[in-house]
Symmetry: none
DNA sequence: AAAAAGATTAATAAAAGGTTAATTTTATTA
DNA sequence: TAATAAAATTAACCTTTTATTAATCTTTTT
């Protein structure tokens, strides 16, 4: 889970943002001033810090400088009512990854934070084609590859479609009828024979991990079981 | 040097931003519409794309979708007079790294672009010498040259475009459909035959380094694998 | 035990892919 | 503008891959 530190002295805005970000599945710690923020940073690790600029005692810019010097790798962004150009430029010159002008729209804040963390964590060359974890196997439906340790098994289109179909209903029964009409287009005697052949292929490929099994329910269909 | 593609139909704003960004030591190419932008992207590599949202013919959101599907690794940001929340959210949901509301302040644009490039991908897409490292090869899409040690292979335009296309989606599947519609313009039987010929050429050129291979996924597409 | 359904391996034919060469198109230059 | 060169497309031919069908054996159900 992504963990954020919010530094905001205004208690109503602080509370609102904290609750909203929690709802959006962020882990969030709220500090009400700079000193507290620095104390928290000594003990915990964060993915991103969100700083208000105008705060009593220590303003956000000063705090950002300290954070940058002490923990240079943690990205931070500003929230500010001061939307003067000079302030925005100052924010970025201190190394901010973003500068949001108040009034803050919580939804916009969330999508910006997500865009930032996605880029930062996952990196530039992240594939949109994701891999499915299947016990000790990795299955990539886009490239039709099934990996087990160093070994790569190239699946055919039908094999890949069938495995994906079963995986989407894993631990649930997939009816012959549904598989055949969805993948083959027609539910008849010959296609059903064909389905048996492909089930057999998949079982062979998946035999390296006993936690992954394709079970038959007599006269009903098949079932991809993924154990614990 | 960092290389940007600006897509902006308004000529005075386009000119202003182009000149300003040049002054700030960016290499910048300005396209006035989506079609032109896609043509340029076939031949050149960029670190960041800046898109206007409201444009005739093809709007920025539609263009962004195409860019994301074809060249998933290039970050893009929006410039827009439409500051409605729904537009900002749409921009980020398409995968934008930032969304700036017009009127644009050039200085703020520059610091945001710099912050992005510093954080995200310094020198990932365009290296200083503009050359792409491909195992033991150096590929320069601008000069269409592929170097291996002392040897220089001159690629034709098609060969170069195809290699660039595959490289931008390296280790991911590039669908026949996407390659053909992007490079040939039309996805038909004959162009697909032609594609096979060019794949064959590239494989021959790239055969000196076994870490670089072009794999086929039957009935789906091709995949440039760059190992370790 | 008989009949039906399922599993597995192998054989076959169709489609897709790979490669080289010939032909057409496009660009260059004399 | 005609001759030449280069590039892209099309053709021809061969190889590989794939889905289907067949053949045979095993399991399940009644």
């Amino acid at each position: 889970m992504r963990k954020l530190l919010l530094v905001e002295d205004d208690s109503s805005l602080g509370y609102l943002l904290t609750e909203y970000l929690k709802m959006k599945d962020f882990q969030i710690v709220w500090a009400t001033n700079g000193i507290e923020a620095l104390e928290i940073l000594k003990k915990e690790v964060f993915d991103l810090i969100i700083l208000d600029v105008m705060m009593p005692e220590m303003d956000g810019f000063t705090l950002a400088e300290k954070i940058r010097d002490l923990y240079s790798s943690i990205p931070f962004m500003f929230l500010s009512a001061r939307s003067l150009k000079i302030d925005v430029l100052k924010g970025f010159s201190l190394g901010a990854v973003d500068y949001l002008k108040k009034p803050i729209d919580e939804e916009e804040l969330v999508v910006r934070v997500e865009a930032l963390l996605n880029r930062l964590n996952i990196g530039i060359n992240t594939s949109l084609q994701e891999e499915i974890i299947l016990g000790g196997y990795l299955f990539n439906p886009a490239t039709q590859e099934l990996k087990y340790k160093d070994e790569i098994i190239s699946l055919t289109s039908r094999e890949s479609e069938l495995l994906l179909f079963l995986w989407r209903r894993k631990n649930e029964l997939s009816l012959h009828k549904d598989i055949l009409t969805s993948i083959w287009g027609e539910n008849d005697y010959f296609n059903r024979k064909s389905l048996n052949v492909f089930i057999s292929h998949l079982r062979k490929y998946l035999s390296k991990d006993p936690r992954i099994v394709i079970e038959n329910v007599h006269n009903k269909g098949f079932l991809l079981k993924v154990k614990e």
